[in-house]
């Protein structure tokens, strides 16, 4: 007779070569990202988050999957849709929310804002608001690791729209020629801002179909399946770490909100959103975990802990004073100042 | 609103506040007498430019400051008080909002030097001039177009410091005597004379005029005039009247010299030189003299001379002259070569009418008669005109004085 525990241990067997701990931490990462992004949305509606904000609702699995496969001394680079990636590297929630609110407790004390989340201490080497700019920079970090012989890896996240800009091509070419330990991960969420990517791209898979132009293997994955992402991430990070050169990975996913907070995304065809909501990465993963025999109680307690953490972080961020004017002339130069004359 | 030292006269650069009629904290009404100023030209009362509270007095009674310097601040109701202006600084104030400056060209500093080609005073030159209380008219300009350069000012300061030659007693030279500081008017006159003499090539022409016709009119109407007006008709109004006619025909003599052009004036504003005793000269101006009848001229002249002698001239009274006449009637001199009042190009001197024997041409032959005769002397600016023109003008003037129907002119 099969007991529950038998089913569980069967499910956790090495055919699913992801151990229990990793699975739970993947789940936790997905939850944290989802909860913080939802909270960011609420705060925006309360007019506490000013300017613009690009949420990763629906795209959590890519960030979580890769983060779980990285070493803490690896480097990540992402776009202005970077809350997920920054959180996934371990940056504190209060720092992320605080930065969105423009407070002193922000990761960059309010100097950068939502589009530039950076936590060098966690290897999150910046979120970049000019499309494509960070790909060459990711190369540089990889080159540095290669030069210093440290086997660190540089992972670079960007959207489908990036694959058509010049810097993408320059970076891929150089990475391949110099055999740099860098992964280029394209989160293809089907839209380049408000335009379907297919209408402006010469190939069907905007990233994967270009890999061969750089002597790289085309890799397409389901970006909403955290396990699938994790496996691919683990494999190719290992490849890069072993000095075997770069990879270009295309992860298909979907953003369930607009391009930015300001966008209600009315350009989507009817039914598309519903179709993708049915494949929500969080719901998908939760039900897989249950199927694998994880306890409901375990999951609930993680959910509770994450919720509490988000609430605490929110209160702490709200309580933090606004960024003081004294910061305006700080940190242009390494000496902390901004003097251009004597 | 800032109250600034007004410019009371074209060449006036500074003034002394003599009396404040209000103190800090007093209510002030626009137009109300606020303070009194003395300059080398005039003493005058200045009204308040706005209503409000006198919130600051920056210059004390007895203090001499540059034109344009902020003297006081009136806080107007409903208007925020800005940063308090500094009291007289070394660098002179040039824009005077709310200034009572009379001259149109209060924006320009040193108009006298402006008219002499060395117009542009650079910031450092202005600063040095203000710091050392210099008169640009005294500084030789060696820059392009006669511009005063910084080095010129520094050289000037050096020369001032250096002990003078034997002709000028400096400190400590053993030549006993009493030092008499020059009055402001004297000093100013001295500067003006020196500038004029230095920059204008003077040529003097004299003409002898028979004043018989004038004399006859004076004799006929003198008593009645005296009874009516309380003062006597002198020769001067007749000369002034004749001058206006002649100047209309010789417009170059009624002009301003501007370096590369002449500004030919359309009216005659006649300056009347008035001697103020040891103090110096002042030249009040009869505006639009060419529009005045002889009696009006006489009265205008009389009024100005009175005001001048009693130090009551208003700022408007000493500006915008186009030609000057200097009457040295009672000096006993034969003729005088006067010094031109820049930017004018000529000046006329009349040295008293005396009875002299002259040769008369008549049908029967020559004879000697005694007539009232005066020498009219004109100094003219040889840059602007030549001897033939000046002489023709004098001939015309003579003809008018000797031939006009003066009784009708007297009305």
């Amino acid at each position: 007779m099969t007991t529950r525990s038998t089913i569980a241990s069967e499910a956790a067997r090495p055919t699913e070569d992801i151990d229990e701990r990793t699975r739970l931490s993947l789940y936790r990462l997905l939850l944290e990202i989802r909860s913080v992004e939802k909270r960011a949305y609420d705060l925006f509606l309360q007019n506490l988050v000013k300017g613009t904000s690009h949420l990763s609702l629906g795209q959590e699995a890519v960030a979580a999957g890769f983060a779980a496969a990285m070493r803490s001394d690896d480097y990540t680079f992402c776009t202005y849709r970077g809350h997920a990636h920054t959180l996934a590297r371990g940056a504190p929630m209060v720092g992320v929310l605080g930065e969105l609110l423009g407070r002193q407790c922000g990761l960059m004390q309010g100097k950068g804002g939502s589009m530039h989340l950076t936590s060098v201490a966690h290897g999150a080497m910046g979120s970049y608001a000019i499309v494509g700019a960070h790909l060459p920079v990711a190369n540089g970090a990889a080159w540095s690791a290669q030069y210093r012989g440290t086997d660190q890896v540089s992972v670079c996240f960007f959207g489908d729209g990036t694959t058509n800009i010049g810097a993408f091509h320059e970076a891929l070419n150089l990475a391949a020629v110099w055999k740099l330990p860098v992964l280029f991960v394209c989160e293809n969420n089907l839209y380049m801002e408000y335009t379907p990517i297919g209408t402006v791209t010469a190939v069907q898979h905007p990233a994967a179909d270009r890999a061969q132009a750089y002597g790289l293997k085309p890799i397409n994955i389901d970006g909403n399946d955290a396990d699938a992402v994790y496996r691919v991430a683990r494999e190719w990070i290992g490849h890069a770490r072993a000095g075997r050169g770069p990879a270009l990975i295309e992860a298909k996913t979907y953003r369930t909100s607009g391009h930015s907070r300001a966008d209600p995304a009315k350009y989507r065809p009817p039914g598309e959103l519903e179709e993708w909501l049915a494949r929500d990465p969080l719901a998908l993963y939760r039900s897989r975990l249950i199927g694998l025999g994880f306890e409901e109680g375990t999951l609930r307690s993680i959910e509770g802990a994450v919720q509490r953490a988000v609430d605490e972080a929110t209160e702490a961020a709200k309580a933090s004073p606004p960024a003081p004017p004294a910061l305006i002339e700080k940190d242009v130069w390494a000496d902390g100042g901004s003097a251009w004359r004597n | 609103m800032n109250v600034v030292m007004p410019q009371l006269g074209e060449t006036v650069k500074e003034g002394t506040v003599t009396v404040w009629h209000k103190k800090v904290g007093d209510q002030v009404k626009e137009g109300e007498r606020l303070f009194e100023v003395t300059t080398e030209k005039v003493d005058t009362e200045i009204p308040a430019p706005a209503s409000g509270v006198l919130s600051a007095l920056l210059v004390a009674e007895g203090q001499t400051v540059q034109v344009g310097t902020t003297l006081a601040v009136i806080e107007e109701p409903g208007k925020a008080v800005g940063v308090q202006p500094s009291a007289q600084r070394n660098a002179p104030e040039f824009s005077s909002s709310g200034s009572q400056a009379v001259a149109r060209d209060s924006q320009r500093d040193s108009p006298a030097s402006d008219r002499h080609g060395a117009e542009r005073l650079s910031p450092v030159v202005r600063k040095l001039i203000a710091e050392h209380n210099l008169d640009p008219a005294e500084i030789r300009g060696s820059g392009a177009g006669g511009r005063i350069t910084r080095d010129d000012v520094l050289a000037h300061l050096e020369r001032r410091k250096a002990p003078a030659g034997p002709s000028q007693p400096g400190r400590g030279v053993a030549s006993p005597g009493e030092r008499a500081p020059l009055s402001r008017i004297r000093k100013r006159t001295a500067e003006q004379m020196a500038l004029s003499w230095r920059t204008i090539p003077h040529v003097f022409q004299a003409m002898e005029v028979d004043f018989s016709a004038v004399e006859q009119a004076r004799a006929a109407r003198g008593e009645a005039w005296n009874a009516k007006e309380g003062w006597s008709l002198t020769y001067l109004p007749f000369v002034a009247h004749a001058l206006c006619t002649a100047l209309a025909e010789f417009p170059v003599l009624n002009a301003a010299f501007e370096g590369d052009s002449l500004l030919l004036h359309s009216t005659v504003n006649l300056g009347i030189a008035v001697d103020l005793g040891r103090e110096g000269l002042i030249v009040p101006v009869v505006k639009e003299a060419n529009r005045k009848s002889l009696p009006e001229l006489a009265r205008a002249i009389r009024s100005l001379v009175e005001k001048a002698r009693s130090r009551q001239l208003a700022p408007d009274d000493v500006t915008e002259g186009t030609y000057t006449v200097s009457s040295s009637g009672n000096f006993g001199t034969f003729f005088t070569a006067p010094i031109i009042n820049p930017p004018q190009v000529a000046i006329l001197s009349i040295d008293g009418v005396t009875r002299k024997p002259i040769a008369l041409q008549e049908a029967g032959g020559e004879s000697v008669a005694i007539r009232p005769v005066a020498i009219l002397g004109q100094s003219f600016d040889h840059r602007a005109l030549d001897g033939a023109y000046s002489a023709a003008f004098l001939r015309r003037l003579k003809a008018i004085l000797e031939g006009r129907e003066w009784l009708s002119a007297l009305g």
Partner: protein, 325 residues
Amino acid sequence: MAQLTYREAVAAGIAQEMERDESVVFLGEDVADAGGVFKATVGLLERFGPKRVRNTPISEQAIIGAAMGAAMTGLRPIAEIMFSDFLAVCWDMIANEIAKARYMSGGQISLPLVIRTANGAGSRFGAQHSQSVENWAMSIPGLKVVAPSNSADVKGLLAAAVRDPDPVIVFEHKALYASKGEVPEGELVDRLGTAKVLRQGNDVTLVALAAMVPRALEAAEQLDREDKISATVVDVRSLVPLDTKTLLAETSKTGRLYTIEENPRLCGWGAELASIVAQECFYELDGPIVRITTPHVPLPAADALEDNTIPTVERIVETVRRTSG
């Protein structure tokens, strides 16, 4: 003392720093085997090997991006952009990314990198290969900018730039590469943010940069000989940080400022210096500030045209003579 050409001094400066510090690396187009299109980096590959001296594809954005990524993760890269005109090709990397990364990250990101590039006209390369664009860099907060005029300065300022913890753009002048100058033996490290007074005079102050410096000196000689006008000549050397103290002091002494700029007229570096002097030195001025610049046109290619577009010694002399009265 050694006599080095400007280009030899460039290589010597890079070599000095690479020798001293293993984290210094060098990348660019044709810089390795070929020794650089201007032969300014000859010998470096042989001395330091292909790991530290790297040829790149024609990919300005990739070059500068790689320098940025390497600098933020522990290296001190020197990146070459062959012609300063090409800074426009990777201007996003320079102006939007490198210049702002430290600030936007709240001080977390460090970018001790150097971009060196060949600036300036006189080589008949035409409008897209002859510009003086140091003023572009001057106008972006977060970039340090130097433009040396002679061999010793280029070596010393390059070394100082490598050692500086902030991004520095070194504008070498392509027409100066062959010029010779005395360079002290041994280690040479100059200081950013310092101008040099090359000649002291009483009447006018000429302030110049890079290839205009020798012209200013020649003009000063001529003015002295022919017009008895005594000129101070200041080599600005560093636009950011700017040595305003020297600028103001030397202008106050004469009361007359002339800037001699190879960049086109509008928003040239001299405009900023003129405005600083007009504001902070106003009461020392004995005459208007005059800028002597290339007119506001793209540069023509023909030698007869190019030579008469950028400021010549004759034009400098004539302008000073005409306006200094």
